[in-house]
């Protein structure tokens, strides 16, 4: 029974209520998912406050890390949105940092208590994706008004297939929030399941094959697990990067429709 629980790959995604909370008939209980989102956000705030508390002209290590972090995100926005993107740097920075820290927090494991990957639940990633989508639509309408609809009408298409292209563009536009939320959620979920399944081979081999199993686990499975862990760290970064760059691309579409 113990071994069964230890190797159940979906067990890590279970939402546990830490304390119940009910505001106006809506269940807003504080769960382990909320806890790790709060830890992530507080971690980012505390880190940047600490790293930039006494800024120097020649940055030390912590200040350098904070500056590289910010410069990386600002660089994404500059590459995609150029001058118009400057007001959106704080937004994209928040999105990138939150996703990145939430992803990386889920990779840690301390004896007795496992961390929780908040981004492995579509309710978290979907909310962020829908927020981004609505923001893009709102900014597009606010900046361009009626001309925002030009985002559905690509230039240089002959009229007899234009109606069909417009339908395709509408579908493509509607698929954006789903694509944003689903990619992050699916990658974090899938990656952690794969990691847990590979790691689960170890107790199964040891229990099933004894000493031979120990050898196989040590020389066959363990390198694989280390490799998958490294891949997961890369994916944790890449997913945050993809979410940030797509936010920029979508914002660019709403600032300059009809490209």
């Amino acid at each position: 029974m113990m071994a069964h629980i230890a190797t159940d790959p979906m067990h890590q995604f279970k939402i546990v209520r830490l304390f119940d909370l009910n505001i106006g008939g809506v269940d807003v209980s504080f769960t382990n998912s909320s806890l790790f989102m709060v830890i992530g956000v507080l971690g980012i705030i505390v880190f940047f406050a600490w790293a930039l508390s006494r800024p120097k002209t020649v940055p030390d290590r912590k200040q350098s890390l904070a500056e590289i972090w910010y410069g990386f995100v600002a660089g994404i926005v500059r590459d995609v949105n150029h001058e118009d993107g400057k007001p959106f740097v704080p937004l994209v920075f928040t999105i990138f940092s939150f996703i990145f820290v939430a992803n990386v927090l889920g990779m840690f494991s301390v004896p007795g208590a496992n961390t929780f990957t908040s981004t492995s639940h579509i309710v978290v990633t979907g909310t962020m994706a829908v927020f981004t989508f609505l923001l893009v639509v709102a900014i597009g309408i606010w900046k361009n008004g009626f001309k925002f609809l030009k985002v559905f009408v690509p230039s240089g298409v002959p009229w007899y297939i234009l109606w069909f292209v417009v339908i395709i563009e509408v579908f493509s536009f509607l698929s954006r929030p789903l694509s944003l939320g689903m990619r992050l959620f699916a990658n974090m979920l899938g990656g952690h399941v794969a990691l847990k399944v590979f790691a689960g081979f170890i107790p199964q081999l040891v229990i099933g094959l004894g000493l031979v199993g120990v050898g196989m686990a040590a020389f066959l499975v363990m390198p694989l697990v280390i490799g998958v862990t490294a891949l997961e760290l890369l994916v944790a970064f890449l997913q945050a990067y993809v979410f940030a760059i797509l936010t920029c691309v979508y914002l660019n579409d709403s600032l300059h429709p009809g490209h």
Binding site: I76, D79, V80, I167, I168, F171, S172, L174, S175, R176, L178, S179, L180, M182, R183, A186, N187, L234, L238, Q239, Y241, V242, I245, L246
Partner: protein
């Protein structure tokens, strides 16, 4: 005041650019991120087609034609998304190559 800040940023940026950083990454980023984008864009378009078609069917009672038509449209959109992303990526790669040999 905003112009002043922009001026100062532009000046500082020009000084930084003058120091000539050689390897500037393209806006597309690592190829792996492009792969993630394409895969999710394709699947999302098909799902949106299915949901939209099913929704139309339940509202207007045209089952199964809304689902059939919208699913096909969603599939076409998914393929079109990938083709467009691939074209943009290869165009960017061509431009980068030309810049390298030209300079």
């Amino acid at each position: 005041m905003g112009d002043d800040l922009n001026e100062r940023i532009a000046k500082a940026q020009a000084e930084l650019d003058a120091q000539a950083r050689p390897s500037k990454k393209a806006a597309e980023g690592p190829g792996m991120s492009l792969g993630f984008r394409m895969a999710a864009d394709f699947v999302a378009a098909v799902i949106v087609g299915a949901v939209l078609g099913f929704g139309i069917d339940t509202l207007v009672h045209t089952s199964p034609w809304g689902l059939v038509v919208c699913l096909i449209l969603g599939f076409i959109t998914g393929v079109w998304n990938i083709v467009r992303a691939a074209n943009a990526a290869s165009a960017a790669a061509q431009k980068d190559k030309g810049k390298d040999t030209g300079a």
